[in-house]
C-alpha cells in the first residue's frame, strides 16, 4: 500500500487539490465533531446570518457521537456515523468554508457537487472501530450544544487519525470505483 499522506487542519485549497480518492491520510491537529441535530442548528444560524460557535474556514467536521469517557480517558469509543443523514446540511457548510468531512457511507450528488464547487473533501474512517479511533484522540472538549449529549459539538485534538479519501474534487468516488473493481 502507498504511504499515508499527513494533513493538519485548517486545510487550504492546495491541500484539497492534491488529494485523490483512495489516498490513505493521517490527520493530526484540531478537528470538530457534529452530527444530525448539531448540523441542523449550524445551518439555521447561517440562514439567520448569525455567528457559529466554531470556526468553519478550512476546518474538518467528524460525524461522530462518542460514548462517555471513562475517568482518565479523553473520550469514549468514537467511530464515524453514517453520513447521508448530514447530506441536506453539508452543501451549506461547504459554501461557508468547511473543507473536510469524516463519516462513513456514500454522499448525495448535491454534496459531491458542492465539494467540487467549494473544494471540499470527504473522508471515511472505519465504521465501528470506535475503541481504536478513540486512542488517536488525545483531547476532547465540548464547545457547543452540551444539551445534545453525544451529539454536542466537540473540539478534538487528534494524532495520526486514520482516514481514507472517498470523494475528491475531480469527481472520483471510492465507493463506486472500489466496488466496480471487485464486482463479479
Amino acid at each position: 500500500m502507498s504511504e499515508a499522506i499527513r494533513l493538519t487542519p485548517p486545510l487550504t485549497d492546495a491541500d484539497v487539490e492534491r488529494l485523490r480518492s483512495g489516498d490513505r491520510v493521517l490527520i493530526s491537529g484540531t478537528i470538530y465533531t457534529g452530527r444530525d441535530a448539531a448540523h441542523k442548528r449550524l445551518v439555521d444560524l447561517l440562514e439567520q446570518g448569525k455567528e457559529l460557535p466554531l470556526p468553519l474556514q478550512g476546518e474538518i467536521i467528524y460525524f461522530v457521537g462518542p460514548t462517555p469517557a471513562r475517568p482518565g480517558h479523553a473520550i469514549g469509543a468514537a467511530g464515524p456515523t453514517t453520513s447521508y443523514r448530514m447530506d441536506s446540511y453539508s452543501p451549506t457548510l461547504l459554501a461557508h468554508g468547511l473543507k473536510g468531512m469524516i463519516g462513513k457511507g456514500g454522499r448525495s450528488q448535491a454534496v459531491k457537487d458542492a465539494m467540487k464547487t467549494y473544494k471540499g473533501i470527504y473522508f471515511t474512517a472505519v465504521g465501528g472501530a470506535g475503541a481504536l479511533l478513540a486512542q488517536r484522540i488525545k483531547k476532547a472538549e465540548v464547545i457547543a450544544y452540551e444539551d445534545l449529549g453525544p451529539e454536542a459539538i466537540r473540539r478534538l485534538e487528534v494524532e495520526d487519525f486514520p482516514v481514507v479519501v472517498v470523494n475528491d474534487i475531480y469527481g472520483n468516488d471510492l465507493y463506486e470505483q472500489g466496488v466496480s473493481q471487485y464486482q463479479k
Binding site: 500500500m1 462517555p68 456515523t81 457511507g105 471515511t124 475503541a131 449529549g149
Partner: protein, 279 residues
Amino acid sequence: MREIAVGSISDAVASLCMAANYELGDDMQAVIATAIDREESPTGIDILKQLQENAAIAAHDRVAICQDTGLAVVFVEVGQEVHLVGGDLSAAINDGVRRGYQEGFLRKSSCHPFTRKNTGDNTPAIIHYSLVPGDKVKIIVAPKGGGSENMSKVVMLKPADGIEGIKREVVAWVQQAGANPCPPTIVGVGIGGTFERAALLAKEALLRPAGDPSADPELALLEKDLLAAINELGIGPQGLGGRVTSFAVHVKMLPCHIASLPLAINIQCHAARHKEVVI
C-alpha cells in the same frame, strides 16, 4: 416451583450490557480472521486488521467496541416452573439496562421519535419474552446499533416469488445498503410467519454464532448460496470494494399463510454483540 428474585435478573442484565459492548465474541473474531485470508483488496485487508485491533483495545480498556452501543434488545426465556418474585420483571430488566449503560460508560441512544429528545438512560429496552419448559430463566442481551438496523426491511412477497424471489430480494437489498451498514455484515433473514414474526425471526437469526450454518440442510444451502451471491457484489469491507461484503448469512424460517410469503432482512455489522446467561 423455583423462586427467582427479579433483582438478580436486573443485575445480570446490567453486567450483560457491559460485557456485550466491550467483548467481541470468539465467533466474530474467528470470522474476521478468516476474512483476512479471503480478502484481496489491500484497503479491505487493512480495514479488517483495524477491526481486530479495535476488538483487542476495547476488551483491554473496557471501552465500547463501537460508539453506537445500541438499543438494548433483550430476549428472555422464562421457564414455566419459575415463580418470579420481588417485583415487576420488565421494570427490573429496564433497571438493569439503565445501570449497565450508566456504570459502563455506554452511549444512551434512545430518544422520542418526534422531538428526538433523549430518554437519558437508554430505556425502554426492547424486550422479547418467551415461555419455555423448565425452571430456569435465560437472558440474552443483544445491543443493536442504528447504522445497520436502518438498513433492514420487511417485504411481503407473493407465494409465486418462491425461493428465487427471496434470493433476488435479499441480494438486491444488500447491494442497495452498500457501505451504510458497515460491511462486512452478517445478514439475518427471516422467512415465513407473519409480517411481525418474520422481522423477529430475522433478528433471532443474528443470535446464532457467526458463520454456524442452520441445522436445516435446506436453509444451510440457502445461506451458502446467498453468501456467495452477496460476496460477488464487490462491496467489500466498509463498502470500499473487496471480496468480503458479508461474513455470513443466517436464515430462520416458519410456516406462513397460504396467501403470504413474508421476508425480513435484519443487517448486523461486525459489532455483532450478544451475551447470555442462564439463572
